[in-house]
């Protein structure tokens, strides 16, 4: 078959579409080598180049192939010729797809020994050392980076598997096991033909020295690791063609489905690579041009659905080079990985994600306490799970409800700025949890999609800087410069470089959108960081768009100097707190899909949602908080459901409603202070100190009291109050109250080791706690204990201005709490004491 025949078999439009690459590649090489295309010495190469060169100009191609590929072409095909089998008459070969289908009809012939290879043949492939590997040719096609792709399915030799995993009946020396591992091989590596027979045929063949190395028996499939399928009829498979074999081996060579296939895939990957490593690295070194298609290796386990597009893509550029670019890659990849090791951020190892609940309806029960929860209950648990996932603040959402106005405003100004290639500042403010960052990210995502469509290239770059995620404000320069240039420099140098960068005129520069989250944390004393970030957008050529986010509406006026707030401009977007209607809208939006999907198995009642959103809206309008309440309510409901007896659960038929009660519980849990509990659990002495403190303060009216006075007060109380109940209890234990409280010396209570008792103070602190301040580091554990126990709140937030207490420090506070509140506290404490003593 010569070139003209080949051309004849290919339709003109195919030439125009698919074959342009190879022709072009030829042309390029021809021009480089001055028509010395015979370098490869291949008969195909010669003819191909000679006859196709004329058509190159006619087609007018652009260069798509890298030079080294075309330069090496032909080498691997040396000594081989191929022929394309005629397609069936009458089927016009129009599409590339049909070409692809037909391409697998290629038949290869080795010049040296007239060895003929076609799809479905079994061959011995040199493995570098040891006995050659056995392979089944899956197909031969025109490749993307080699001229001809020979893709094979590997057999595993008996010697590659350890005896303990091998099935009993397959331990013959000539046993091989077909694996679903697909790999491309080089023609050079093919040693010769071999025969793989079924068990029955193999028995009929007599082995001697002439054929023992090339005759094999295949009874089973394997995953190349430790799994072996049940015996199969090899003859049957061969007769049905290679594609069928491939499909079957993929199914059979995977351990039975007690685990999900996806999981299996993950587990397999490492082993797969391991085996691949054992076989091919030597090949790479020795033959220097072994083609390993890792992609194919991976796709071996992938579903046919995923496989098909890939193949189609490959066929888009058929009949290109024969020589892979791989030969250069080992040397290239080493320095890259070395560099990576120094500079890149380490990556944490990944773990296999446990699919405890499969996407389909089967439920994998893996939990001890869920063991008894079967069928319907399991589904409920699963829906709980799903609902929770949706409600968590981290859930991925398609759209953000209730922020339409703000996002359109933002979108408008960003589009305007990007298209006009002008710098701009936008200031966004709002209390925590009202969706500022989420909205901006959403808008940026939309922009990426919408603006990129114009010419298939992105129109702007994007960077996020969070003021609270930086250790110091100037680190923002480093982050910005890293984004611009990809280099890591120190903050000072980065500032200079940035200054220069934004000053210079660069037509090709893309606009850069910078999101400055938590901007107020980037304010330094002289505010240079802020100044610079708002100054650069004013440069003519900077094309820098800054979106600054902070909590307070008037931050520019309050915190920043005039020169900065004037640069900030007037584009300000205010995110008001969510109203309760909006909050419930958000929750409903998140739950929408679930309720439809689970056939109302799990319902969160409207009242409950309303309650949660009203509770939050009245305080802060923080969406995060309302979501957290709902999640917690779900958890409480789940607990309640699981703790119900089995009959009741059955009676529910897997239906469960999360009501207002659950939400109430969740809200209470989150808002109640643990203080009452805490006070209740104090020891008698600690409570006594507290009472003495409050009583004494009530009497004197001063906010801070010396410890000595409190001790005095305590002594007085012990003398005055009867504590009959306590005394009775103690006498029951054969103890006396005063002995217990005063120790054995029976002197009056006195605090030792505090330096002097008159210099320790109880002071209400900023957050409403009383703190014992003493000028010495406490020497004794019991006193340390007292100190900690006495941090008791007395609701004085508004008036007490004393600042916090470090051990051994003293501060003066300026105001005393309102009387009424103190009396409140005292009565509460007294009640508590009465109850517990």
């Amino acid at each position: 078959m010569n070139w003209s025949e080949l051309l004849a078999s290919v339709s003109p439009d195919e030439l125009l579409n698919g074959d342009t690459d190879i022709l072009d590649g030829r042309a390029e090489r021809s021009s480089l080598n001055g028509f010395s295309t015979a370098a490869a010495g291949s008969s195909i190469g010669d003819r191909c180049a000679a006859s196709s060169f004329g058509s190159v100009k006619k087609i007018g191609l652009n260069d798509l192939l890298p030079e080294n590929v075309s330069g090496n072409r032909g080498k691997s095909l040396q000594g081989w010729r191929f022929e394309l089998e005629e397609p069936e008459k009458g089927t016009p070969r129009r599409s590339r797809r049909s070409a692809a289908a037909n391409a697998s009809q290629i038949r290869l012939t080795r010049d040296a020994d007239r060895l003929e290879l076609k799809k479905g043949d079994t061959v011995l492939v040199s493995s570098g050392s040891g006995p050659p590997d056995v392979a089944l040719i899956r197909d031969i096609g025109f490749g993307t980076d080699t001229f001809l792709d020979v893709r094979v399915l590997w057999f595993m030799r008996r010697s590659e598997a350890s005896d303990d995993v091998l099935p009993e009946d397959s331990r013959l020396e000539n046993d091989v096991f077909l694996t679903p591992i697909v790999e491309k091989i080089r023609l050079d590596d093919i040693v010769g033909p071999c025969t793989v027979l079924s068990a029955s045929q193999f028995a009929a063949v007599s082995l001697d020295s002439s054929n023992s190395g090339s005759t094999f028996r295949c009874q089973r499939f394997s995953d190349r690791d430790s799994y072996f399928s049940d015996p199969v009829d090899w003859d049957d498979y061969v007769s049905r063609g290679t594609e069928y074999v491939y499909e079957r081996v993929r199914e059979l060579a995977i351990p039975p489905r007690q685990e999900s296939p996806r999981k299996k895939k993950r587990i397999d990957t490492p082993t797969q690579q391991k085996t691949h490593k054992t076989a091919s690295p030597q090949l790479v070194v020795l033959s220097d041009s072994e083609e390993i298609d890792l992609e194919d290796l991976d796709s071996a386990y992938e579903s046919p659905l995923e496989d098909k597009p890939k193949r189609r893509e490959r066929k888009r550029k058929p009949r290109t080079a024969q020589k892979p670019a791989k030969s250069s890659s080992p040397s290239k990849s080493t320095p890259r990985s070395a560099r990576k090791a120094n500079n890149s951020v380490p990556v944490l190892p990944t773990v296999i994600r446990q699919k405890f609940f499969e996407d389909d309806n089967e439920l994998v029960i893996d939990d001890d306490d869920l063991q008894e929860v079967v069928d319907t209950d399991g589904k409920v648990v699963k829906t709980f799970r799903k609902a929770k996932e949706k409600l968590l603040p981290s859930a991925k959402l398609q759209t953000l409800p209730c922020r339409d106005q703000e996002s359109s405003q933002l979108y408008g100004s960003l589009v305007d700025a990007i298209l006009s290639q002008q710098g701009r500042c936008i200031y966004v403010s709002g209390t925590p949890g009202v969706g500022k960052t989420a909205t901006i990210r959403e808008v940026i995502k939309q922009l990426f999609v919408n603006l990129a469509n114009d010419n298939d290239k992105k129109m702007f770059n994007y960077l996020e800087i969070n003021g609270l995620k930086l250790m110091s404000p100037p680190a923002a320069y480093e982050a910005l410069y890293h984004k611009i240039s990809g280099e890591n420099v120190k903050a000072g140098a980065a500032l200079d470089l940035l200054e220069r960068h934004f000053e210079t005129r660069d037509e090709t520069r893309l606009p850069l959108v910078v999101l400055l989250d938590e901007m107020d944390q980037m304010v330094t004393k002289n505010q240079t960081v802020m100044y610079n970030f708002f100054n650069w957008p004013t440069y003519e050529n900077s094309k820098l768009i800054v979106v600054a986010v902070a909590n307070t509406m008037d931050l520019p006026e309050r915190l920043l100097t005039n020169k900065i707030s004037s640069r900030l401009g007037l584009t300000r977007i205010q995110f008001p707190g969510y109203t309760y209607a909006q909050l419930s809208e958000i929750i409903k939006h998140r739950l929408e899909k679930i309720e439809r999907a689970n056939e109302n198995k799990l319902v969160i009642s409207k009242d409950a949602i309303e309650f949660a959103s009203r509770k939050v809206a009245s305080v802060s309008g923080d969406a995060r908080r309302s979501l957290v309440f709902c999640v917690r309510a779900l958890e409480i409901a789940e607990m309640e459901f699981l703790s119900k007896p089995q009959q009741e659960r059955d009676a529910l038929h897997g239906r469960f409603t999360v009501g207002i009660v659950h939400v109430m519980k969740a809200v209470n849990e989150a808002t109640s202070t643990p203080l009452a509990n805490y006070l209740n659990s104090l020891s008698f002495a600690a409570k006594m100190v507290l009472v003495a403190f409050l009583l004494r303060r009530k009497r004197t009216g001063s906010a801070e009291l010396p410890l000595g006075e409190i001790i005095d007060e305590m002594n007085n109380q012990f003398g005055m109050v009867l504590f009959s109940e306590l005394k009775r209890q103690l006498s029951h234990e054969q103890l006396e109250m005063l002995e217990v409280l005063y120790g054995h010396e029976k002197s009056r209570l006195r605090v030792d080791g505090l330096g002097s008792t008159n210099r320790s103070y109880f002071v209400p602190t900023k957050n409403g706690m009383a703190v014992l301040l003493n000028p010495l580091v406490c020497r004794y554990q019991s006193l340390t204990e007292l100190r900690v126990d006495l941090r008791v709140r007395s609701n004085m937030n508004s008036t007490a201005t004393a600042s916090l207490a470090t051990r051994g420090s003293m501060f003066v506070n300026s105001a005393s709490p309102p009387r009424s509140q103190m009396e409140n506290v005292i009565s509460v404490v007294l009640i508590l004491m009465e109850r517990s003593i």
Binding site: P346, P393, K396, L468, E733, V740, G743, R750, R759, R791
Partner: protein, 461 residues
């Protein structure tokens, strides 16, 4: 009640009990039995299990007074998890006492991540810890934070791969609230609440401060999962006794079958002691009504168990941790001159109602009193006959040495003044002008030495 058992069995039992008491609960290497916190432990376990299984990020605060078993409880939960999900998560522990600011905490996180990574992969080349704090922060955040919108990264890529879940345990969380920015807490809570499919982080904060939630900055508070688990001290005496029993009893199943009986007998005996009138019971009750602190009880019980006669289970001596008389004991050991100096200092404080006293004041008083005493003595002698007594003269240097010894003993204490945590006492004067607090009062001295005549005299003002 007597037990006839081989000596080594008894010793083994004793060692087990002492190991329980020895306070090594926070290392997290072995489970420590706790009483009455099962519910809380299950809650923490469930939360972390959800993080590992379903990538659900959560943050949670555990609040409770010292010695209530916060750390131990979390450790127990982590040990359970480690058993069930071996090598499927990392635990990173930081403590507000050891890593006192955000920077060093970030460094410590990076270091521990490195350690985990090295253990996992044996790769020395990569490291989270960098030279500069900024870069360390960046590298740590890059693995923790999955929420940042990056260019060219498919956000919706729903892959099965998931980064190792990380569990942060922050001891003394309140320390990190002192900083105005609260960077560490912000970041940890943020990554926890934005945990996605690929990044799962759980944060457990332990603190003794009841009102720590109010101390969180508003942004931090918004990102916190609002989950608080509170541990309190037992309210009832019976409950407290159960706690103590849990502490000093042993689990019979831990021993080999031969010792099963012995362990049970021991437990029964301990239960009886705690239930009925006994020295042990008295100790527990005393503790319950005053400090209610298991840790103190532990140290008191250690000699009790160590000296216990194991054949009869009769306990050793109970050491009273009496904190009330340290200064008095020192007073009794003082030399006469030192005691005089103490009295003089005390007199001055009392007379002039001062806070602090320095050597010069005390010495002046000392001279005055001693000379007046010699004078009275001399006048008395004079009336009796013509004998004159030279006043015993003590040099200033000698007295200064005494003064310094008092400082060394801790009877005179230097006042510490701090403003915003910085020691603000700067003193440039000479040694004899430095002001001190006196740890005792003149009344104390008079009462303590009421049998010595001269002390009573000196103390009389």
């Amino acid at each position: 009640m007597t037990v006839s058992e081989p000596e080594q069995n008894l010793e083994l039992l004793r060692r087990r009990v002492l190991a329980n008491l020895s306070n090594r609960t926070s290392s997290g290497l072995a489970k420590v039995r706790l009483h009455n916190v099962e519910m809380e432990q299950v809650q923490i376990y469930k939360m972390l299990e959800n993080t590992i299984k379903f990538n659900e990020g959560k943050s949670c605060l555990v609040i409770g007074p010292r010695g209530s078993g916060k750390t131990t409880m979390v450790n127990n939960a982590l040990l359970d998890l480690q058993e069930r999900f071996p090598n499927m998560f990392y635990v990173i522990r930081i403590s507000g006492f050891y890593q006192s600011d955000d920077k060093s905490a970030i460094k410590e996180i990076a270091r521990q991540l490195d350690w985990h990574l090295l253990r996992h992969s044996g790769n020395w080349n990569v490291s989270f810890e960098r030279f500069s704090a900024n870069e360390t922060m960046n590298s740590v955040m890059s693995v923790l934070d999955g929420s940042q919108l990056m260019e060219g990264k498919d956000q919706n890529g729903d892959n099965d791969e998931m980064q190792m879940p990380i569990i942060f345990v922050i001891d003394e969380l309140d320390r990190y609230t002192n900083d105005a920015k609260q960077t560490l807490l912000y970041n940890l809570f943020d990554v926890a609440q934005s945990s996605s499919n690929s990044h799962a982080v759980a944060v457990i904060g332990l603190t003794t401060v009841t009102g720590v939630r109010e101390q969180l900055e508003k942004r931090v508070k918004s990102r916190f999962s609002q989950r608080v688990i509170q541990l309190t001290k037992p309210r009832q005496l019976a409950e407290f006794c159960d706690n103590v029993y849990c502490m000093i009893s042993v689990d019979p199943d831990d021993f080999d079958p031969l010792m099963f009986d012995l362990a049970q007998k021991y437990n029964a005996h301990m239960k009886m002691l705690l239930g009925g009138p006994s020295e042990l019971r008295k100790l527990v009750v005393h503790n319950f009504y005053t400090v209610k602190d298991l840790n103190i009880l532990k140290s008191q019980l250690t000699p009790y168990i160590a000296k216990m006669d194991m054949t009869t289970f009769s306990g050793g001596p109970i050491i009273n941790v009496n904190t009330n008389n340290r200064s008095f004991q020192i007073l009794q050991s003082l030399s006469e001159l030192e005691l005089k100096l103490v009295i003089c200092a005390g007199r001055q404080l009392l007379k002039n109602s001062m806070d602090q006293v320095n050597f010069n004041i005390a010495y002046e008083e000392f001279e005055k009193i001693s000379s007046s005493q010699t004078n009275t003595l001399n006048s008395q002698l004079q009336t009796m006959g013509r004998v004159k007594l030279d006043s015993a003269h003590h040099s200033r240097d000698l007295m200064l040495a005494c003064w310094e010894r008092l400082i060394y003993y801790g009877l005179l204490v230097e006042p510490i003044r701090q403003i915003n945590g910085i020691n603000s006492s700067f003193y440039t004067g000479g040694e004899s002008n430095k002001m001190f607090h006196l740890d005792v009062t003149v009344e104390d001295v008079a009462r303590l030495f009421r049998h010595k005549d001269w002390v009573t005299k000196w103390c009389r003002i």
